[in-house]
Symmetry: C2
Subunit: 650 residues, 2 copies
């Protein structure tokens, strides 16, 4: 063990390993040599000009390489990726090497000017931008074709030569972060800025949203409690509750945009320019000319893709939806059976039995959601989208439609066809609570337990019983490379989305929904934090300026909420079941119905006006952005003016 340490010590003094590259076992010498040469080669020769060292353990070279970069190289890389940093005058500006002195905390010897996560992001960007020049294939692997401009790393990954590339954890920093995040029992905000420094903007923004959303649900939960406790079921109390819910969820979504822009302005990502999007790694096709770039690259006919989408994926999704509805009908049969059983032999056991169908159904829903998720991923990747963003959009659409129907169809059916308020409440509670428990277990606790067991075994094998902090680099890398990969925030947002659906669409029949959501979210913060710090490999930081498509999706649920106006449910359940079955009340019913229609329109109007009145960005951020825009326009004008004068004097 000590040998490997001493080996690492002989590295150049400024070499700090940031990113780990793992080749497949038995990768040809020739390939590794060619690839590492390209990594260290000068930019002018088409290299990445980074530093690379093999990791040598007691078993000899294990095909693992460490990548780092000199301080200067990272600064130049920061300019290439367009990082935005804070200046001495507190404004945020795009970093350029020539203006480096104007940035806050910049000093030639301050190697912490860029965070480790930023360094790793830069290295990832540089590695992915290593492009083939004249090579027709990867040396040693004739079947792995290359063409000018193809990203070498992506080809290596898809052909299985590279097993993985992942950024290293920083044990010291992680310990500090863990401590301030969930180490001590305290009431307070999460250390979002530290999370951002360590995990990047996408992850930090998810935790920011989770925290914000939890706080935002508290008023709903607080107001819901008396409704539950005192069983307030008068019509006017319900309308008040529903109205509050509706307006409050408008406010929540509008205010989030402001909070998000404040955070991302501080982090610099609000100002980052969008980069040109390269094809996603899995994209394949025959070699052709890209009409946009004019370069050679694989081309896949858009019509073929459309055919795959509309003739295969769409029918498949419809079939799944039908299947989900079929399962729902089985659930209602079970429910009926349990009810009959309870009526025949009334006992404690039989009244417990009443809950069993709901619980089974909740578990089945979760399982179906998970299976469908794999199918959706497979189908979407088979659709062969050129861009990651288009892949993501199609995946999100597929998964959301199914999950939404799967989770909410039974509730809608109970509310609007069966008119059974008691059953609706009971199903809602069971579904909500069961799915929350299942989720937290499957997502964090189970992997954590597996991970812990694995670590223990590893340590035993290494015959050492040190604490985490004492782990050597080799041990650390061996541990980390076996950890699971964090596939992004998709599943976490999906869970929040379903929760938002339960709370906003049905909370007026079951006011405790918001309470359970708040409780769940509080534990969710801790379990997700645990998952990030303990269970998964460190993810590469992903700069982002907002929560993207999820903002739109939460907004869509909200619009559905408005149009379906949950004032209807209690009214109809109440009147539909009892008073209204004799005729003189019909006129009353009609009047109330139209009052509601009017009320709904009024709410809609208030909603629109609120969205209009609450600006998306706080005033000071607006001014700062306007200032930057003004400066760039002025610079452009100066340039034009100079040309003007030059030309007119000629």
């Amino acid at each position: 063990m000590a040998e490997s340490w001493s080996f690492l010590d002989t590295f150049e003094h400024n070499f700090r390993p940031l990113v780990v590259i793992e080749f497949a076992k038995g990768t040809k010498e020739e390939t590794i040599d060619w690839f590492t040469k390209r990594i260290v080669d000068k930019k002018a020769n088409g290299g990445a000009q980074l530093l690379v060292k093999p990791l040598v353990t007691e078993n000899g070279n294990e095909n693992i390489y460490l990548v780092g970069a000199s301080h200067l190289r990272l600064l130049l890389g920061a300019e290439t990726v367009g990082l935005v940093k804070e200046c001495n005058d507190n404004s945020m500006r795009t970093f350029t090497y020539s203006s480096r002195k104007t940035f806050k905390d910049f000093a030639d010897d301050n190697h912490n000017f860029l965070t480790m996560a930023e360094g790793q992001y830069i290295i990832k960007h540089e590695l992915e931008n290593l492009r083939a020049k004249d090579e027709k294939m990867i040396p040693g692997y004739p079947q792995a074709k290359l063409y000018p401009g193809k990203s070498i790393v992506r080809r290596l990954l898809t052909s299985g030569v590279l097993v993985q590339i992942f950024p290293l954890h920083d044990r010291e920093e992680l310990k500090k972060l863990r401590h301030s995040w969930y180490g001590r029992v305290k009431v307070g905000y999460q250390p979002l800025d530290e999370i951002r420094c360590y995990f990047g903007e996408t992850v930090a923004l998810y935790f920011g949203f989770l925290e914000y959303f939890t706080f935002a649900l508290i008023p709903m939960a607080v107001i819901g409690i008396p409704y539950y406790v005192f069983a307030w079921e008068d019509y006017d109390k319900y309308v008040m509750f529903a109205t509050f819910n509706l307006l409050w969820s408008t406010v929540i979504l509008e205010v989030w945009k402001r909070i998000c822009s404040v955070m991302t302005y501080r982090w610099g990502t609000l100002l980052m320019k969008r980069q040109f999007e390269e094809p996603r790694p899995g994209f394949h096709g025959v070699l052709g000319i890209n009409p946009v770039t004019g370069r050679e690259e694989p081309v896949y006919s858009s019509i073929k893709r459309q055919i795959r989408i509309y003739l295969v994926s769409l029918p498949f999704v419809c079939l799944c939806l039908y299947f989900s509805l079929y399962v729902m009908m089985i659930y209602f049969d079970l429910e009926q059976w349990a009810l009959d059983y309870h009526e025949e032999n009334e006992s404690n056991f039989s009244s417990l039995m009443l809950f069993v169908p709901s619980i089974i159904y909740a578990v089945v829903i979760e399982i179906m959601n998970r299976i469908y998720r794999y199918a959706a991923e497979f189908l979407t990747s088979w659709e062969n989208h050129r861009l990651e963003s288009s892949y993501q959009n199609h995946l999100v659409l597929k998964v959301l439609v199914f999950n939404f129907l799967n989770c909410f169809a039974s509730l809608f059916y109970i509310a609007f066809v069966l008119f059974d308020m008691k059953l609706l409440r009971q199903s809602l509670a069971t579904l909500l609570i069961t799915s929350q428990i299942l989720n937290q277990f499957a997502e964090s606790l189970l992997p954590y337990w597996l991970q812990k067991r694995h670590k223990k075994r590893m340590k035993k094998r290494m015959c050492s019983l040190k604490t985490d902090a004492d782990l050597s680099l080799v041990e650390q890398i061996n541990l980390e490379k076996e950890m699971g990969t964090y596939f992004g925030t998709f599943d976490d947002y999906l869970e929040l989305f379903l929760q938002f659906g339960y709370v906003s669409l049905f909370s007026c029949v079951y006011p405790l929904a918001a309470v359970f959501a708040v409780l769940n979210n509080i534990t969710e913060i801790y379990s997700d934090a645990l998952k990030m710090c303990r269970v998964y490999k460190r993810p590469f930081a992903e700069p982002t300026a907002n929560i993207g498509v999820w903002q739109v999706i939460f907004y869509a649920v909200h619009v559905l909420h408005v149009t379906r106006s949950n004032c209807f449910i209690p009214l109809l359940l109440k009147f539909g079941n009892s008073v209204m079955l004799f005729s003189p009340c019909f006129k009353l019913y009609r009047t109330i119905f139209f009052f509601l229609l009017f009320f709904q329109h009024l709410l809609l109007a208030i909603k629109f006006i609120m969205a209009f009145v609450i600006p998306d960005k706080p005033r000071d951020i607006q001014i700062k952005l306007a200032k930057l825009e003004f400066e760039s326009l002025e610079a452009l004008k100066q340039q034009v003016r100079a040309t003007d004068m030059y030309n007119s004097e000629k």
Copy 2:
């Protein structure tokens, strides 16, 4: 007369008058001298480097000046305003003087490379950008204060020294345009490209939208006719009609975006960069520092503005809305009175009398709309918005809310409170037809007649009876300066908006609404064309890439349409009045209601999916835009790479 012509002949050969400046009678010599000197002065000295000549008529100098520019100056100006033109390789690019040879039809002696409207736009831009340097006030007018950076023209206009600035008509071109636009009786498209060349993009886009909208209404009209003729009132036929309407209006709005982007790409405005927005002319305040630009300019506290908006404008608007509802109730009293009268003495006269209240109400609505418009303009300008765009938004919001309520409240009331299908149809027809007739008369025919009378008197006074083409420049200017000013497309879009409201919200109870809308729009095209060519001064061209806020507003009506789902109306009217008043049908009613709710959600889903599936821009335009973006990113990268290499070799 001949003298003035000969006087003009002595102008430099390349002087072509483009824009007319009219000073107030009795403006001091000193002021005019100072201003004209600034206009002709070199850019380097803060001038506009344009050409300017006084217009001398038989009555001597009438304080009218003509502004032109050399060809070179216009080309440089085109670069300054960022005009986008077609290149030799058919791509659209921002014009720069240095790359002028790559543009289609460019030749040093081709003075038609820029259209006359573009030349006028450039001159307007240059004049408005004449800014005060050290002047503290306008020479000769100590009360008209200036500060560094203040636009001189705007101050001259607000202090009344300048009466108006307007672009000259081009008699030849106008005659050609008139001929191809509405001169011959033909079925076909409008010459949108020629309209754009003559009047600019904003006007052309309005006519494009009007034409598109008319074509889009034809299917609705065609389908509506059999419903009217055969009086199909079965429920299922109505649902089909309403469903078709809903989906069709989704398609209309989505497809318009595509058509609009194709047009504005061809015109170059889709690619034009947004300019930094200066304060609007009417904006006033105490001198302070603008936080964005850091320059001295009038500053007006945002809180004061908020107070004016929420404590004065908002209550005033609410009061007007209340008043409008009050008038509506009077209308219903009148309606009742007419009905009673008809029942008492049944005759032809009395059945005609039934229509009188609706006609009176329609006229009153029109009058109220027009009065309110003035009040809204006054209030919005009193709110003292800094930017023209914010002024426009607040004005549009005020006017729309009132007009919408004013026009539709009575119809909603009839539909949802009175449940009187016959009255609804009758009111709808009367309102729609009366308002269309009134509008066309007040907007085009009356001004045209006034204008014609004025022209005759002018000609008599000048004792000459020449045709239009023979008019001398002096006569032309004297005629044009007295013409009305076209205040932009606001009123025209407003009219279309109300029409869209009638058609989409109520066409399922009165299927002929679409037919009347189509007929109205066909005459509207001709009367608006007449108005543009004959009644008003030529407006300055305004480059624009889309119909802006109106796209959002049409979309909002559409969303309202979806949520209110007009399938409801016929159902409720039918069942509400007859069959449903005895009790066994109540369950049926409930079932149908929930079927409808489900159906509405299905429609909503289809709508969202359609909006997702139909891209906003056609594929070829997307590719062209992506190509431009890619090129600019590549250029940036090249630049960064050069710095990189330079720095790393150091």
